[in-house]
């Protein structure tokens, strides 16, 4: 980006590096999910000794895969979306309409944050039935996800002109 402000290049590099790490963490979480299920099958069929913890670990990993994945590896444009009305407008209007939708989204998620934090604080002493992990920590990834949705919406609204998502993406 030749027209970017000084430092934009380095900032881009940092973002790329962070993205790579987020992908790596996502791959690790997915591996935990997969391996927990593999261990479950092996224990049951090879050793005839099923364990309850594998199912719980898989369920927790599933939760983290969804919210970690949505928070750090899934750009807003990559979500399923309907492109019916916005493409009928001229590019400057498209930008405004898209930004309005994101603003509504960000407001709702912002509205949800205090209640969500209260809920997590409320269940902080509860533990998962088998592994005994604190539920407040297991569920905390949801709060991270909600915050990241707001950040991504704001970034989408502030996106420089000419970088709208391609229609029908």
């Amino acid at each position: 980006m030749a027209s970017g402000p000084p430092g934009a290049h380095q900032r881009g590099e940092v973002v790329e590096k962070l993205k790579r790490w987020a992908d790596f963490a996502a791959a690790a979480l997915f591996s935990v999910l997969f391996l927990a299920l593999v261990v479950q099958v092996v224990r049951r069929f090879v050793f005839d000794a099923p364990a309850a913890w594998t199912e719980e670990l898989a369920a927790i990993a599933f939760l983290w895969v969804i919210f970690w994945g949505a928070a750090f590896t899934l750009p807003l444009d990559a979500h399923a979306a309907v492109d019916v009305i916005v493409p009928r407008f001229s590019p400057p209007w498209r930008r405004v309409l898209y930004a309005l939708g994101l603003a509504g989204l960000a407001l709702c998620f912002l509205w949800m944050l205090p209640g969500t934090a209260d809920y997590l604080a409320f269940i902080v002493r509860e533990r998962t039935p088998v592994l005994g992990w604190p539920l407040g920590i297991v569920y905390s990834v949801f709060l991270v996800f909600a915050v990241m949705v707001i950040v991504r919406c704001l970034a989408g609204i502030a996106r420089p002109a000419g970088r709208e998502p391609p229609p029908g993406a």
Binding site: L33, A59, G104, C108, F109, T116
Partner: protein, 431 residues
């Protein structure tokens, strides 16, 4: 309808129409509902998190996504293509027929139409449009149409979602999809035979029959996957989730040890990509949990049931109305969202009018697959148009005869429940 429910639908529709992400818009709508009805906003998180942690069957979804991604990364798509080519390449419009047969085979390993379209579907588009043998839009249309077989022949992600909301057996639904999937393939192959003759599409050099055992040998291991999967579920050895993990393990073993088509870096990429795809579906599932909480609190399911009861429909009438409604909604809404929010409203009605729930499930999933092909919101159109640079309009024009064929199959499935229920009954299914 209460003000809070209007607030939910208004916020959801507003964000979606402004091109916001569907799943996140559903969660936002749920927040608006809780706020407008004066409830604790922490309920959204509570509903989503507790429901996710308690739905073990949903964990099969990422496993099927992972298995399909592994298959697509290795040389498995090419092997299936070679086998299908040896079988039906010799007919007029042969490559288009190969496209359908390869989709049928791939369906036995993948539970997602999109995985079928971006994997074997793209391979076939490349081969078909090489040297301008077929018009590109026609090639894309065949890949899009045949990809809809993916979730009908087991495994199937949409059927898993249906099993979750209807309480029907995953095994019965999976078996129930086998014959309908084959009928869909046959219908499409008839369309291709007709179009090929009319437009004089090319014939491929026939692969000699004596070559067939060798080609079969090259593709026999991937072909065995459905046997492992269905055998495991039906013998009661695995739950659907465990079977999905075994399927993924099998695909991984093939790609890494047998075909040596996957290295460490490739594997990390596939895992990250599977996380992304899981998150995309997962967020819509989360949105559905919040929506369903609001709909239940407002007693919408009971009202829908009353409304249908007042129509005094028989089983056939109910199926016709339900299918027309979902065909219309399928043009506008996302399949996951429809399956998890609107289908549960009709399940008790179906039971009340005496429609078998496995029959209803398979018919509705076939209906939703047509929805993947119909504009303005047809995911397969978007994905393939994006990947091939073919305009959606051109694809839709070539799709028209296939859409008619699929609609005819849907009508046939509605009229002939035994086409769906025959195999599950043979395996001991009794509602």
């Amino acid at each position: 309808m209460s003000f809070a429910l209007w607030a939910m639908l208004g916020v959801f529709a507003g964000i979606v129409l402004l091109r916001g992400p569907i799943g996140l818009a559903m969660i936002a709508g749920g927040v608006a509902y809780l706020g407008a009805s004066g409830q604790d906003l922490g309920l959204a998180a509570e509903q989503i998190l507790n429901s996710l942690l308690g739905s073990f069957v949903l964990i099969a979804v990422p496993m099927f996504i992972f298995a399909a991604n592994v298959m697509n990364s290795g040389t498995i798509s090419e092997r299936i293509f070679a086998f299908a080519h040896a079988l039906v390449g010799r007919f007029r419009g042969g490559l288009a027929q190969v496209n359908v047969v390869a989709s049928v085979i791939f369906s036995g390993m993948s539970g997602s139409a999109i995985a079928d379209a971006v994997g074997p579907g793209m391979v076939e588009i490349e081969v078909m449009s090489r040297d301008g043998r077929y018009p590109r839009a026609f090639a894309v249309a065949v890949s899009a149409a045949s990809a809809t077989i993916g979730p009908i022949i087991p495994p199937s992600i949409p059927m898993l979602l249906y099993a979750l909301v209807s309480g029907t057996s995953v095994g019965a639904l999976f078996l129930g999809g086998v014959l309908p999937g084959i009928v869909m393939a046959a219908a499409m192959m008839l369309v291709i035979a007709w179009v090929a003759r009319r437009r004089n599409f090319p014939v491929e050099a026939a692969v000699p029959w004596r070559e067939l055992p060798r080609i079969l040998g090259h593709s026999i291991l991937p072909l065995l996957m459905p046997v492992v999967l269905l055998g495991g579920i039906y013998s009661g050895a695995f739950t659907a989730t465990e079977a999905a993990a075994v399927a993924a393990l099998y695909a991984l073993a093939l790609a890494v040890f047998v075909y040596r088509a996957l290295d460490w870096k490739g594997l990390v990429g596939i895992l990250a990509e599977s996380t992304r795809a899981t998150a995309m579906v997962g967020i819509i599932i989360c949105g559905a949990f919040v929506f369903n909480y609001a709909l239940a609190a407002e007693q919408v399911p009971a009202r829908v049931a009353e409304w249908f009861a007042a129509l005094e429909l028989g089983p056939l009438g109910f199926l016709v109305v339900a299918n027309l409604v979902f065909l219309a909604l399928g043009c506008l809404l996302d399949t996951t969202c429809l399956l998890l929010v609107l289908v549960p409203l009709l399940v008790p009605v179906a039971r009340a009018v005496g429609v078998d729930l496995v029959h209803f499930g398979v018919v509705i999933v076939v209906n939703m697959m047509i929805g993947l092909l119909t504009p303005p919101y047809g995911v397969l159109l978007f994905v393939l148009s994006g990947l091939t640079g073919t305009p959606v309009k051109a694809i839709v024009r070539e799709l028209a005869p296939f859409l008619l064929a699929l609609a005819a199959v849907l009508a046939l499935l509605v009229l002939a429940p035994s086409l769906v229920l025959g195999l599950p009954r043979l395996a001991g299914y009794a509602p």
